[in-house]
């Protein structure tokens, strides 16, 4: 048997869930007195699944806790056979789990599971997303009146912005605190949740609808002045103050990078 055929036989055996060793593979393998061929092959077969399951448990600890060992393992094994690892790094193994859940799980579990898996995956993404130097309060302290009027900013690269229909954040928090996880319930209004990395540590926060709209307006290219204007209808005279309070908290959370628009398309990062 040629090298490529030998490798294909072992690959097929490892990647299928079936632990029965195909005779065509077994006859290629030399065992020893202490470790027969069948036992040696089983070591590789078990190690493949154990390694991938270990990564899934590590990347989706809240989902694991919520579902319990048996159901999570069943889901993870079904996922792995549908989406076997394609990337050289196991860091990307769980990337398609939310997508898989969408097709594999029925309601009413589907939506909350999908959200919890998505929330957990965004933490994985934030953890090693590209670095950026966020706008700091120090820089903001030196702003001139013109700087304020023209200030434009965008979100740092690690930010994931989620709109959650369920009490997913509460479920995730309970799982993380290792206390009883509440039942999944649908919220009366969708919840905006940001996940990002600040000073090497992953962070999350939820936003009230008005704050979310203001942040969206600013980071979609609006200026600070336009944000104040937008808040006039809800905050009246207090709108510049409210805008400044929010801006300060976004900046202390390390969420923003200052941008300056030149012409129509070029964006330059100033700090």
């Amino acid at each position: 048997m040629r090298l490529s055929a030998q490798q294909e036989a072992l690959e097929r055996y490892l990647a299928t869930g079936d632990s029965a060793i195909p005779p065509g593979l077994l006859e290629q393998i030399q065992g020893s007195n202490t470790l027969p061929a069948t036992d040696g092959l089983m070591i590789y077969h078990n190690a493949y699944r154990a390694r991938l399951l270990g990564v899934m448990r590590e990347d989706f600890p809240a989902l694991h806790r919520w579902m319990g060992d048996e159901s999570f393992e069943q889901l993870a094994l079904a996922y792995i056979s549908a989406w076997p690892p394609r990337h050289f790094s196991l860091r990307w193994l769980g990337e398609k789990l939310p997508e898989f859940i969408r097709g594999y799980v029925a309601e009413p579990q589907r939506s909350p599971m999908l959200e919890l898996a998505t929330l957990e995956w965004t933490f994985t993404l934030a953890f090693d997303a590209p670095d950026a130097v966020p706008l700091s309060l120090d820089v903001m302290g030196g702003f001139s009146a013109d700087d304020w009027v023209s200030l434009r900013a965008c979100l740092i690269p690690s930010v994931c912005w989620l709109q959650l229909q369920h009490n997913t954040v509460d479920m995730w928090k309970s799982a993380k605190a290792e206390i009883g996880i509440p039942d999944a319930v649908v919220l009366s209004a969708p919840m905006n949740c940001l996940v990002w990395r600040h000073k090497l540590v992953c962070q999350y926060r939820t936003l009230e609808p008005s704050e979310a709209s203001a942040l969206r307006l600013l980071t979609d290219g609006g200026s600070f002045a336009s944000m104040c204007e937008y808040l006039l209808s809800t905050h009246g005279e207090q709108s510049p103050l409210q805008a400044a309070i929010w801006l300060k908290s976004w900046i202390s959370d390390g969420l923003l990078v200052r941008t300056c628009r030149i012409g129509t398309s070029d964006t330059i990062f100033l700090n």
Binding site: Q7, S32, I43, P130
Partner: protein, 280 residues
Amino acid sequence: MSKSNMLGFGLGLRSEYYQQILEQRPAVDWFEIISENYMVGGGKALYFLDAIKEQYPLVMHGVSLSIGGPHEIDADYLRQLKNLADRVQPRWVADHLCWSRGSAHQLHDLLPLPFTQESLLHVASRVRLVQDILQRPLVLENVSAYVQWKTSCMSESQFLAELSSLTGCEILLDVNNVYVSSRNQGFDPWQFIMELPRERIRQIHLAGHSDYGHYLIDTHDQPIAGPVWALYGEALNYLGATATLIERDDHFPPFDELLAELSKARSISAKVLGAAAPCV
């Protein structure tokens, strides 16, 4: 190969110890990184990598090159490996003599090759390609194996020797892997080492394994076993001073325990080589 650049005694760099390494500057001569852990956009791993590389020499050790695989060499992987090497400026770049990817799947394991002429030509052409891109010799490590292919017509060490003479690649001798495979397959570990061309051994690995009675598994989650220490001493007697690294990948002990194992490696080396052959 000149051993004048002998690095001394190092440890695998693991995130569990990042903070302690920066704060305490432990007496470790060098660190070895798992290359794939740093092929990311940003964040903690790259932050500590940049800080630690200012303080210690580094070596890159990969697990995903799949030098013996049936697939094309992954161009994206090679590009990232080269970029990382440019950033880290490692003393050398290593991976394993194995395949870890099939034609359809990443198998994320260090799978054994049949040691045949066909494999030798296949691996040699890929080693040359990787060396051309990295612009440096590749260092390849013997792996722990739980099966052998019946078609093999030479030992793993003979294969490494041939490969090295064909391509100029260098060898990372993992003494624990030799011991684990020798117990599992019933060969003489000492003969394995003697078949290696000593002038091409760039580095040694030491690690712990799990003993299941009639077979061993290479788990890197235990202290180094007595027979592996003994084999290390014999290997040094044959090789002379050789850069030595202790790998630990699970059940992470307090850092001091790893430093104590490193001291043991130093003293074995000093004893075997005597005062005439300083190690550092």
